[in-house]
Homo-oligomer: 321 residues x 2
């Protein structure tokens, strides 16, 4: 019996040591102390403010040169969320010293009329940036033209689609390391998941620098056990699936950085009110992650800031005449 | 001591059962029997022959309509490998009933002259397909224009770059399942790794159908232990890193499908002759994998076949006049 007891004790001790070392090795480099703290909550609002300041100063310089950036918006249909999103952008533009205008079209507008309108706007030299907001959110075309996506995927200088740019800037400005790290991108939409994967996996020395991370592209066809397996290996998780509470604390690695791109409206069972939640189980994940960006107040305001930044870039690149 | 011995025996038995079930669960669906056989060696030459036959019959129809597909090649510089590659394509075209022509330019050719030449060829209605072979192999532009890459990444109908198309066809024609499977793509080049990842991770119901697989994009910045971890989870491994013997049997899951895109020239230590090897340790991996495509005779001949197929598609899509 003594032998057996000794064995048990040793085994327990080995277990403890093993999990200690695993714990130690698996800790994110972002966290300096071994004592467990809740995650740093990355404020998209705060970072957006930084970018707005930079854009404001760039805009002032352009205005002094007689080249005030102008953002034009074509808004199709009467989707409430689209209108709110647009109003936020128009307000941001005016606060930063840019002019803006919005053209409304009914959702019955013909493809031909749309193409003519876009072509006219493209040739109009007084317009620096153009946004077309279609009724379906997945057709949002901020920085989302075939040629632009071609350049993006070939690591050439381009307009990075606003939401992907927002994720990129959050990572950069928070000082989260990407080179050689494991990134899990959940969701393969063309306007969010795909461009984020493109940015993060590509070469950091290319014209449009990438993150040089190992990137996993997971999506609705990824079986849940597989998703968990991959999440447990990830240093950075980017949730863009549109599924509330998809990313829970138990599947994450301690100290991981979690960026929540989901925007889901859930009805509160008590008050009956609609509230905005992301794809991440925020309260629990906050206790395990190293960094977390909240919904609302994370990627959303940053995306608006990136549209403003893109508009200024377009104004800068416009031929002087 | 007896207790200790019993425990050891039990432990061993649990180990054995565990690895048996792991082994069972991890077996690829491609393999039906539990008895271990060597991998099916996928012959790129054989599949290429199939495609050539299909292309030949399409070509005959087009010729009957007075629209013989014509492949034009602009070959820049005097790189030996480029010349060989081009000669193989010209020979394939003529065997299939297409006409072809090659224009040679020195590597000192100006960017301006190249653009003019390409523009002229693009407007020439007698030319169905155009290949520009630049001195650096990574600049091969088979199906590799910004607009085309934009369409590819947005899952729109397009010319799929030849090597990526070759990998796709090998997977499809061998009957390897991709939906919900784990795919590891090693190498993030813009002409091979990136388009392969785009094809395999995207939605199977889109205009340009994807594989709906979970795709990992690994590359030179992926630490080796991480690569091993990810390889052990992969149902399909696509090796396009240009590193001989990178993919060894020990890191693979039993029954995985292994597609070797590497082309490396190694000097035989005995004979001193150069020989072609891929990124996969073929002899050992063959014993563990479910499917394996060899080098030479795998992706190479398939890529030539896909260029022929792309040329016929271009001829079909050309406006009749």
């Amino acid at each position: 019996m003594a032998a057996s007891t000794t064995l048990t004790v040793n085994y327990t001790r080995i277990q403890t040591l093993t999990s200690y070392f695993q714990h130690f090795n698996r800790r994110s480099p972002f966290r300096q102390s071994l004592k467990r703290h809740a995650a740093t909550v990355v404020s998209g609002r705060e970072l957006a403010r930084q970018i707005h300041k930079e854009v404001q100063s760039d805009t002032a310089k352009l205005v002094a040169q007689g080249n005030r950036p102008h953002l034009s918006v074509i808004l199709v249909g009467d989707d409430h969320a689209s209108h709110t999103y647009m109003r936020n952008k128009a307000r941001a533009a005016s606060l930063l010293g840019m002019s803006s205008s919005t053209i409304f079209r009914p959702s019955s507008v013909s493809q031909e009329e749309m193409l003519e309108l876009i072509d006219k706007f493209n040739r109009d030299r007084s317009i620096s940036g153009l946004l077309v907001q279609l009724p379906l959110p997945e057709k949002d075309v901020d920085g989302f033209h075939i040629v632009n996506i071609g350049k993006l995927c070939l690591d050439q200088r381009c307009m990075v689609p606003a939401t992907a740019a927002a994720v990129w800037e959050i990572i950069r400005r928070t000082g989260i390391e990407t080179v050689g790290k494991n990134v899990l991108v959940v969701g393969h939409s063309k306007n969010v998941g795909m461009p984020i994967a493109m940015l993060l996996h590509s070469d950091r020395n290319h014209e449009r620098p990438g993150g040089d991370a190992t990137v996993v592209m997971a999506h609705r066809c990824t079986p849940l056990p597989r998703l968990k397996e991959l999440a447990s290996l990830a240093d950075i998780v980017i949730a863009a699936a549109g599924v509330p509470h998809l990313i829970t604390a138990d599947i994450l690695k301690e100290g991981a950085a979690v960026i929540d791109v989901g925007i889901n409206r859930l009805q509160d069972p008590v008050t009956g009110k609609l509230r905005l939640v992301g794809d991440v189980d925020f309260e629990a994940v906050k206790e395990k992650a190293g960094f977390i960006s909240p919904v609302p107040g994370g990627v959303g305001p940053m995306a608006v800031a990136m549209v403003m930044k893109n508009t200024v870039t377009a104004a800068k690149n416009a031929p002087t005449y």
